[in-house]
Symmetry: C2
């Protein structure tokens, strides 16, 4: 075969649902010399990562660390460790990731009861309570920030519903972590997972997870080991914990990147970081509406870091995204499932959440509309 040329990836402005823009110092950190996974200097890096993750997760949870896979591996980690065949899971489904949680739970041999809502809507505690019908569940799971729709799920009151059905409370925090308050301990979340390529602004490849003491107790009582050896927390905790027992070879350079990304988040300050996301998210929403476009999610449940905007009548989705990519170097995301062809998903995540990016993106969308001769007329809301 002909040997390919060295890579020279073009510079895009990543404004889709992830991966997001990566800070130069994170990319530099990833290219530092590789250390061995048992090197004393690397073990210190691991401890610092775990400490910083506890801060962004808003938790004191001992069992807090990144799994060696992308966000979906984090999702699977929760279910393979917390469920056993015959367990019962109550899962909120209002987008791709709730759907995926239900599927993963079923593959663990669990009986799954779903709570359904329209994509873009969120759940009240009463929705979960009604679906539970007074029955017992092992886990109750919901998506804190639905990457497929742009909806922010409030966590208030969910702990009480989980308690009433005897369940651990699980949350998908893939798109929330680092971009809005997560606060696992405040809301009584027992297990959560995230990804690095959203509001932490690190390349994809790691899945931060965190488990409460109660979740650890449940895992300690398992009759049989987790069906996944690779994601078995009983084994992995021995490497990330005190014993440093070899399990698998940690993705060293990815972890360097996460270390730097977390450092940047803490140096900015979490409150300032969340406020920045709120401010730019609001500016984007206002700008899109000023272009005559309407947003998929109602104002009170919009994620600042991910906006789903409706495509106007007659607008060609694929052609529009190609135009934006080729003419402006901007990547946005298309819709998934029932939203395919109907929306664009625009991310303002972490390092990329800036006023110039908002302005450029709005200008690009305006040009994409003009290129197709489409005029949008959003009724004043």
């Amino acid at each position: 075969m002909q040997i390919p040329a060295p890579l020279v990836p073009p510079k895009r402005l990543l404004m889709g649902p992830g991966p997001s823009e990566v800070a130069p110092s994170v990319l530099r950190a990833m290219s530092a010399p590789t250390l061995g996974h048992l090197d004393p200097d690397f073990l210190r890096v691991m401890d610092e990562i775990a400490d910083m993750l506890r801060v962004v997760f808003g938790t004191e949870n001992r069992l807090t660390m990144p799994m060696s896979g992308t966000g979906s591996a984090g999702m699977e980690t929760l279910f393979v460790n917390l469920l056993q065949p015959g367990a019962r899971a109550l899962v909120g489904v209002n987008g791709v990731f709730g759907t995926r949680m239900a599927e993963v739970a079923r593959r663990c041999g669990a009986e799954v009861v779903t709570v359904e809502a329209e994509w873009g809507q969120v759940f009240s505690p009463e929705d979960f309570a009604a679906a539970a019908q007074g029955q017992r569940f092992d886990v109750m799971a919901l998506v804190h920030a639905e990457t497929s729709t742009g909806a922010a799920q409030p966590l208030d009151g969910m702990r009480a519903v989980a308690d009433a059905c005897g369940a651990l409370l699980l949350a998908d925090c893939v798109t929330s972590l680092g971009g809005m308050p997560v606060e696992l301990d405040r809301y009584g979340v027992d297990a959560a997972y995230s990804g690095t390529q959203k509001c932490l602004s690190c390349p994809p490849g790691l899945a931060p997870v965190s488990f409460s003491a109660r979740a650890e107790e449940i895992m300690a009582q398992r009759a049989a080991p987790a069906q996944s050896w690779y994601l078995d927390l009983g084994l992995i905790a021995k490497y990330w914990g005190g014993e440093r027992a070899y399990h698998h070879t940690a993705p060293i350079n990815q972890l360097y990147g996460l270390h730097e990304a977390l450092r940047l988040a803490l140096e900015e300050g979490l409150e300032a970081r969340y406020a920045r996301h709120q401010q730019q998210g609001a500016a984007l929403a206002a700008g899109l509406e000023a272009l005559g476009l309407s947003l998929w999610v109602e104002p009170e449940h919009r994620l600042a870091q991910l906006t789903s905007v409706r495509l106007p009548e007659g607008f060609d989705d694929a052609r529009g995204r190609r135009f934006l990519l080729e003419e402006f170097g901007i990547e946005v995301g298309g819709g998934l499932g029932p939203m395919a062809g109907k929306v664009w998903r625009i991310g303002l995540m972490g390092h990329g959440c800036t006023r110039p990016n908002v302005e450029l993106c709005l200008r690009g969308i305006e040009a994409a509309l003009a290129e197709q001769g489409v005029t949008a007329s959003h009724p004043a809301s």
Copy 2:
């Protein structure tokens, strides 16, 4: 909390069982700007990676790509996709990774029959045939290059045994890929996995895998989906294949690194690369014996890229490795399982497999022996 300082990892010379030394251009590639996982430019990177992997795997297999996890995720990929509850697996166990394969197969609900050998020994086809006792198996699995012992398992004749028991032939190629001929098609291997942090000299985080058409047929006939959603090849093949359907967000920058690492291997030429490993491996073995040390594995089954050397009587393992790390900046590996405290494992993998590294390592070991006042006297073999 106090925010940690930016990372400045010390430069080690990685001469353990992996991760191995990484070429500067691979580290640079990993710090290129992140692309979206559906960006047309990134899709071309994926195709080039798959094409180059086919060359190093020695296969025409369509289903060839890196999984988004470390080598152990590659192992799990084979078993969760090829086994179903009640399936039967015949597994060769002569080190950590055969042991791990048996465990992973059991967690897939398979009935596992092991073929056992002393750690450091290899199997003959007759060993497998005798263990099979004329029974049927779904898979027959062995380790091509045992990272825990340094033994090279010949593949000749294994296909016929697998055929006789109706099994797919599976091979762990973690430490062989890129350092010695793998040649899946020549030996009739149906499914293989590897890691990037050994003889491909890329940081850890990806697991190249390859599946024959026969293995694909077996997967297509599954009654139930794989127990792992994250590693479900039926879904992942749609992303790496023609449809480009979103499954999970690929670890973009890790894949940049693998692209460059594969490019370097092909630019060197595989024959030249394997010869380099043979030459330096032989030089290391001769040098260790000249120091009066003896090797764990018999000459005819030694891996050139990984050498297990016996520690002499009275030598303190941990103190010796600390000395080597602190005084020479060299990392070597300790023994695992029954070999713990008895050997060091010295890697000459990929980019780090050079004459200067061999010489420096020998000088370091000589100094480590002297520092403890230990004299080794290897009986002339």
